[in-house]
Symmetry: C3
Subunit: 258 residues, 3 copies
């Protein structure tokens, strides 16, 4: 068991270049704003960006595949404040994790499973720090945001080294489901394109879809899959909405057709 | 009647720590962005957060209960730029208000009623400053944002001390209605949980709901009410959407059942 | 043909006061956040605001009228990062444009047509710089954002002077269509109110609408048009939603009735 000094020393930590929010809070209402108020107050000058504010609500499993994929695009010294937390107020632990030079703060419910599995080097810590006032339902604001701010400003993070008690060895390396519907109605799967045969076809909602390189090489209204800009297999309809046109929603199964 | 110096001196005002936006503008379209452009230009370096961008549209009454509740969470020296303003372009006054060390800028239409009623100490001023160019329909950008920026950067705010002419003594202390539907479909009432008996049941849309402490102590699909992280009584369905599952929308009456 | 130095010298360029995002990316998902991460990294300290995150999706024509109208409100030395780019990955050029002291970065697909047509002075450059890693589908993040950041921080922008190859002389000066539906359900046309007779009536979806000065001078539920705060003719229903009440959507034709 390490003490707090260990984790800071281990990481050679100074100050974050960026805080990225990965939540199911939405942006319009009061949740993200309160989190940002905490960050502005406690880690002034560190830029904050919204990576996902609409991660699959209450669904740490689908979220875990998105997080691992998108976090890999960000530079080292990014702090990810991650809150998809249906068990808030219950017994799930609060964790922070160093993975290949990036930090992750959030609930221990599987959300970090794929980040850990895909990283070369990880260290996991349990957050035993508690704020003076901790609500039962908004640990994002009361616990994780202050903790992320401390990390971001370069403080020695108070934590206790642990094996992540929420590892989910039963989850697959690639998720054969729709994991996210974007603003255009495109449907991201939890499958990395690089893990698929080059000529793979994907079967979803009774349709078999070919791979395309870009949108513009397909006729208007055609459905296809392609490798999106972060490496996931994504289903789209050229100048249409795949979610509506094909009847897709989060959790819909996707099969790899021969 | 005080002059401009009075209000600055009275408040011992220096510089805001934060500007919080409370509007019904939405975030996607051009309104919030233009307001933030004004703030970035006129109060550079003061952090701006979106508290609510989807306050009940055109509904200062429901908004007033949300504003009073959520503003109380923020530190002193926060400037709240508040625009829920169906009467824009009409005769309603433009106000700014000091309440327990926080500043509020916005239309005089009842929006600040509950803030004033719940504060220990308030001072109200009418904004008689006018910008060079004032549109008929976007005082948020043209009048309130520059004024909030002046306050935020520590300028002596030009205003005329007044009794708020838009006080609404007829509004109740607690609003027995749904005041907001959040991103998860949870329905916030305008009732503070602390004002209810510990074992109160809430009756809404033909259902009588028990109180729960957290989401996780209820079975999947169960409807209940609980004290949310800012103290309001909120109606939720564990792993469901209360708005859809119970048929709730803003304005729906809520009764306290024995 | 000018070289890179020409465009910087011509503009007397120093550093942007602001970066404004004009996209169809949405705010919730991963696209805007990744763009902002690039800007925070490459142009630290330059404020970034979301002007439109829901420009008409994949519709450079309707977007062009919104962009020209809204950009005119912003100060000189604003950099507009503009991505409505259905042809991403295809042969359309990448452009940057100086127009009356403002800079525009984005795809050459007509998106800048109205900006150019309405400006007193413009210079157009083709972006021949390419990043180390360019995805096929997200030039907003990989090409346009780094380029906008370089411009914003005052670097000499690498570009090749050109006649914009994507000019659309066939597009009208005023767009007689619904170009945008806002958060309130108001329907903006692509018509500037100043280009219409003072007593013009607008015919849309089988209704003929009179002009009003403000919302508050019309009875509840009445439909009308008015000059919005950026000069466009906009259709609204007092205390209603024009999109729903009148059945309006983007692209619906609008006629000027005698």
């Amino acid at each position: 068991m390490a003490n707090a000094l260990d984790c800071a020393a281990a990481a050679g930590w100074e100050r974050a270049c960026l805080i990225a929010l990965f939540t199911d809070f939405g942006l319009d209402g009061p949740y993200t704003g309160q989190v940002k108020a905490v960050l502005a107050d406690m880690a002034p000058g560190v830029p904050v960006v919204d990576l996902f504010a609409d991660a699959p609500a209450g669904d740490p499993k689908a979220s875990a595949y998105l997080l691992a994929t998108y976090a890999a695009w960000f530079p080292k010294r990014t702090v990810f404040l991650c809150v998809v937390d249906p068990g808030v107020g219950g017994p799930r632990p609060a964790l922070f994790l160093e993975a290949d030079g990036r930090w992750f703060v959030g609930p221990g419910n599987g959300l970090f499973e794929l980040v850990q599995r895909r990283a070369r080097e990880t260290r996991c810590f349990e957050i035993d720090w508690r704020p003076e006032r901790l609500s039962a339902s908004f640990h994002g604001r009361d616990l994780f945001a202050p903790f992320a701010a401390m990390l971001a400003r370069g403080d020695t993070p108070p934590g206790r080294s642990c094996e992540d008690p929420s590892r989910r060895a039963d989850w697959p390396d690639e998720l054969s489901e729709i994991a996210y519907i974007d603003h255009y109605g495109n449907a991201m799967t939890g499958l990395r394109a690089a893990a698929l045969p080059a000529d793979a076809r994907l079967s979803v909602a009774g349709r078999v879809l070919e791979r395309a390189t870009t949108f513009s090489d397909r006729p208007r209204g055609a459905a296809f899959w392609y490798e999106n800009s972060n490496g996931l297999a994504e289903i789209a309809v050229n100048q249409g909405r795949a979610d509506r046109d094909l009847g897709l929603s989060i959790g819909a199964p996707v099969e790899i057709a021969a």
